[in-house]
Symmetry: C2
Subunit: 156 residues, 2 copies
Amino acid sequence: MTENESTLLQEHITRHHLKITNEREMVLRAFMEAERHVTAEELHDGMKRKGLAIGLATVYRTLNLFCQCGLAERRQFGDHHTRYELTYNVTHHDHLICTQCHQIIEFENLDIERLQEEVARRHQFTIYHHKLELYGLCVACNQKNAREKPDEPMGG
Amino acid sequence: MTENESTLLQEHITRHHLKITNEREMVLRAFMEAERHVTAEELHDGMKRKGLAIGLATVYRTLNLFCQCGLAERRQFGDHHTRYELTYNVTHHDHLICTQCHQIIEFENLDIERLQEEVARRHQFTIYHHKLELYGLCVACNQKNAREKPDEPMGG
DNA sequence: ATGACTGCAAACCTTTTGCATAGCG
DNA sequence: CGCTATGCAAAAGGTTTGCAGTCAT
C-alpha cells in the first residue's frame, strides 16, 4: 500500500511534464517516515542527519509539489512555521495541540462536522474545508505543572 | 459603553508603569472603527489616509500592547498576515471565511463547544482556547459563479 | 539536445529591534 | 529628571527566486 503515494506523485509528474529525480524520491521517503506535521527545516535536518545531501530550497520546492498533487497539505499552528502533513489516503481529522510540549493529537468527530454543516447551511455558505484546533495542555504537561508548582493554582 | 476599551487600556498602562500617548489613543480609536480582523498594515494605511502621522512599527507595537492587556487577539487565516481582532467584551465566536471575496462571517455554536470539551476530556486534555474556521464560498460568490460559468458544475 | 531540477546565495515579506530623539509622569 | 515611546532604518526569520550548472527523458 506504500506504493500509492509514489504512484500519485508519478502520475502528477508525468501529466505535467515534470521529472522524477533522486531528490524527489528522497524527500518523499523521508516525508512518509517523518513525524506528521513536519516543517521543511525539520525534514531537511532529518535528511542531513541520515547523510542525505540535499538543499533546503529543494525540500521546500518538493513539499510544495506534494501539495499541488494532493499528497500533502500545509498547516499553520500557532508559531510562524508552515507544517506539511501527508493527507493522501488519510481520513479527515482535527487537532489537539499542547501549547507546552507541542505534542499534536489527531481526532475526528462526526457530530462536530454535522454541526458545522448546519452552521454553514444557516448562513447559506458552502464549506470546502475547515480547520478545528484545540489548544491547551496534554495530560503529561498538566500533571508535570501540578507537581512543579503545586501552590500556584491560578498563576500570578 | 465605548469607554470600556479605553479604561481597560489605561488600567493596564498604569499597572505596568507605561504611558498614555497620542499615538496609542490614535491607534485605539482607529482599531475600534476599523473592520474587525485588520492587519497592522491595513490599519496603518487607513490612519495615514486620514492624515494621521504614525510609523508602522508603532502600530505593530501598539497592537501587541492591546493583545497583552486582553483588548485584542491575533488571528492567522490562510495568508501569511497576522490579523488583530477586538475581543474585549465580545463573546467568543468562530469564523466562516469566503475564499473568494474574503468576507468573514462570525458565528457561535454552544453545541460544538460542548462536543469539543468532550473530545478534550476523552484525551485528558485541558483546552485553553480553540480555533474553528470554515472555509468555502458565501452565498453571493456561489451565485455569482453559477451565473458566470453555468456549464462547469464540477470544474476540470 | 531540450528543458526541468538542484544548490547556493540573494531577494522577499512581514514583523521586530536598536538607536537617537521626543515626551509622559 | 528618569524612563518609556516614537520613527527610522536595519535586522530577523521563514520561504521563495534567479542563476549557472546538472540531469532526466
